[in-house]
């Protein structure tokens, strides 16, 4: 009897001390999501700011079933963007991290610190520096080089394909430090005796990478890779700041789902439509999160069983 009473008291105080945080999150995160959900069923826009009315699933129909709607195009672009960037990131980071851990390498801490610098600078600052410093048609460094080599100057951010490449370069520049750091840590966790055994069997570099390094790294880097897939999929800053700034569009028409949702809310003022996009994206993210968590748990168990 006394024990249950004590438990209740403890449970009560636990609720009490987590209440401020839960209230704040409820007010700032949960309530606006619910409000977005409500707006997504209305025709709220610049003309119907106060006089909006409920229109059922009309916005969702426009988002999902109108084939030439901007959303499906943006979704396809976002998937392409995520696949291209993740593949490049994993390969390049693996090569750099392997070389950092080459057995004849000395003083790699110095290079590691230098290579971390892009990660340490505020993202929007770096992106704006790239925008003018590198890509600017007149005095950007790339076109200065082109001119001094005798080539025509290039508008790095205006065509869809060239802009996609430029944006990818900036994303790699920003994202590689984290991935290199993760892979570096994973490589250091591998027991050297595996390689010594492989050397006795005279395995070559590729065999060692395929049969020892990659399988042993996988479980260590998996969480970080999943996090990076999410941040890449949710990319907004690079594309918005480089090519989609309202007063300074560069002419390329590249949207990720996030820049597309933003544009419909804050530029073209289709609040109902934009809210429906937000809810669709949120549903997809929930699906991914649950899927990845299940996968992770499965992977974790498998890993334990192997030992």
């Amino acid at each position: 009897m006394q024990k249950t009473k004590k438990m209740n008291h403890k449970g009560f105080s636990a609720v009490l001390i987590s209440l401020p945080a839960l209230l704040l999150i409820g007010l700032i995160i949960v309530f606006p999501i619910l409000y977005t959900f409500y707006i997504s069923f209305t025709n709220m826009n610049i003309y119907h700011w106060f006089t909006f009315e409920l229109i059922g699933f009309e916005n969702y129909r426009r988002v999902l079933f109108v084939l030439d709607s901007g959303f499906l195009r943006a979704l396809w672009m976002t998937i392409l963007w995520t696949v291209v960037n993740m593949s490049l990131q994993l390969v390049v980071a693996f090569i750099i991290a392997s070389l950092l851990n080459h057995r004849h390498m000395k003083f790699n801490g110095f290079y590691k610190t230098l290579l971390m610098i892009p990660w340490a600078i505020p993202g929007y600052v770096s992106i704006l520096l790239w925008r003018t410093g590198m890509f600017n048609t007149e005095f950007g460094l790339f076109n200065q080089w082109m001119r001094s080599l005798g080539f025509e100057t290039v508008q790095w951010l205006s065509g869809d394909i060239i802009a996609f490449i430029s944006v990818t370069v900036v994303n790699l520049w920003l994202a590689l430090p984290f991935m290199i750091m993760i892979m570096d840590g994973a490589l250091q966790s591998i027991d050297q005796s595996y390689y010594e055994a492989a050397d006795l069997e005279s395995a070559n570099v590729l065999q060692k990478a395929r049969l020892i390094t990659v399988p042993l790294m996988k479980p260590v880097i998996a969480p970080a890779v999943v996090i990076t897939i999410f941040t890449t999929f949710k990319q907004f800053d690079i594309i918005y700041l480089l090519i989609m700034q309202p007063a300074a569009r560069t002419g390329a028409n590249i949207h990720t789902i996030l820049t597309y949702a933003y544009e419909n809310a804050f530029i073209t003022s289709n609040y109902g439509y934009s809210s429906a996009i937000s809810i669709v994206i949120f549903m997809m993210l929930i699906g991914f999160t649950l899927g990845f968590n299940r996968q992770m748990r499965k992977g974790g168990i498998k890993h334990v069983e192997q030992h």
Partner: protein, 282 residues
């Protein structure tokens, strides 16, 4: 002998590779540094080099005399510190409760937090904006509005991150102290919090960096120039295709980056664990 030669050759090309890679990586930053230290009329000269011919601090001086960069800086600073206080203040006790106590609905609340963590706040930015502008008191263009948004976002991260760390502290330590007659408050403040210090510091640094690096909410919500943060100020200083304020912009950009760069390199070793632990523990 031949093994030794191979070692030396390997070492030479490895260092060659990493010196080149580091230089290529840092070109945008070095270029910005050079521009910020040169006079504005040398921009288009064809004989550009990474070492400016006439080093001048003129651009930096202009920032302080012609532009309110000190006000931008102090606005950013106030936002960062207030968010840090509020976010840590609410999430440390909550993280402790989620790690140590059982109460009804704990599991489902925590699972909801994991899902909410996947939600990019930019998707509800319009709803937040409408709620804050049409509520009884308008919170648009106020520091309170932004601090609430930032702290709410970072409270989720803080709870998940620090709960994971509290979980690794053996509960036996607390039980021993309880047997010795320590009160609940003493146990938490004298034993648990000091043990959790590394996690609290990493979480705090992450919150500071998040606020310092945030721009889309501040450029949307801070409409009056007296409330401009460094991000809004920089955004307004941005050089257009032909604008001449580019050297000034580089100076402001580097000035903005310096505090974060220093803090980041100080805690570099802890950054990776600080970023991944929270996302994994489900």
């Amino acid at each position: 002998m031949s093994n030794n030669t191979r070692k030396i050759i390997n070492r030479i090309w490895l260092h060659g590779f990493f010196i080149t890679l580091s230089f290529v990586t840092l070109i945008p930053v070095l270029y910005a540094l050079t521009i910020s230290l040169s006079s504005s009329n040398s921009l288009l000269s064809s004989d550009f080099s990474f070492i400016p011919k006439n080093i001048t601090l003129n651009n930096y001086a202009l920032l302080f005399t012609e532009y309110p960069i000190i006000r931008w800086f102090s606005n950013s600073f106030i936002l960062a510190i207030s968010t840090l206080g509020l976010a840590l203040g609410v999430s440390i006790p909550a993280a402790y409760a989620f790690s140590r106590r059982t109460f009804k609905g704990k599991q489902s609340v925590f699972k909801t937090l994991i899902l909410l963590n996947a939600f990019p706040t930019i998707l509800s930015m319009f709803a937040l904006w409408r709620l804050m502008s049409t509520g009884p008191v308008s919170l648009i263009n106020t520091k309170i509005g932004l601090v609430l948004i930032y702290a709410g976002t970072m409270a989720i991260f803080g709870i998940m991150n620090m709960k994971g760390y509290f979980d690794t502290i053996p509960i036996e330590i607390e039980e021993a102290a309880r047997i010795d007659g320590g009160t609940e408050f003493q146990i938490v403040s004298k034993i648990v919090l000091p043990l959790a210090k590394p996690s609290i510091i990493v979480t705090g640094v992450m919150i500071l960096i998040y606020v310092w690096n945030e721009y889309i909410f501040s450029i949307t919500f801070m409409t009056g120039s007296e409330n401009y943060t460094l991000a809004v100020g920089l955004y307004s200083l941005q050089a257009g295709e032909i604008s001449g304020s580019w050297p000034l912009f580089t100076a402001a950009a580097l000035f903005t980056s310096l505090p974060v760069l220093i803090i980041f390199l100080m805690v570099q070793r802890h950054m990776v664990s600080g970023l991944t632990v929270g996302g994994v523990k489900a």
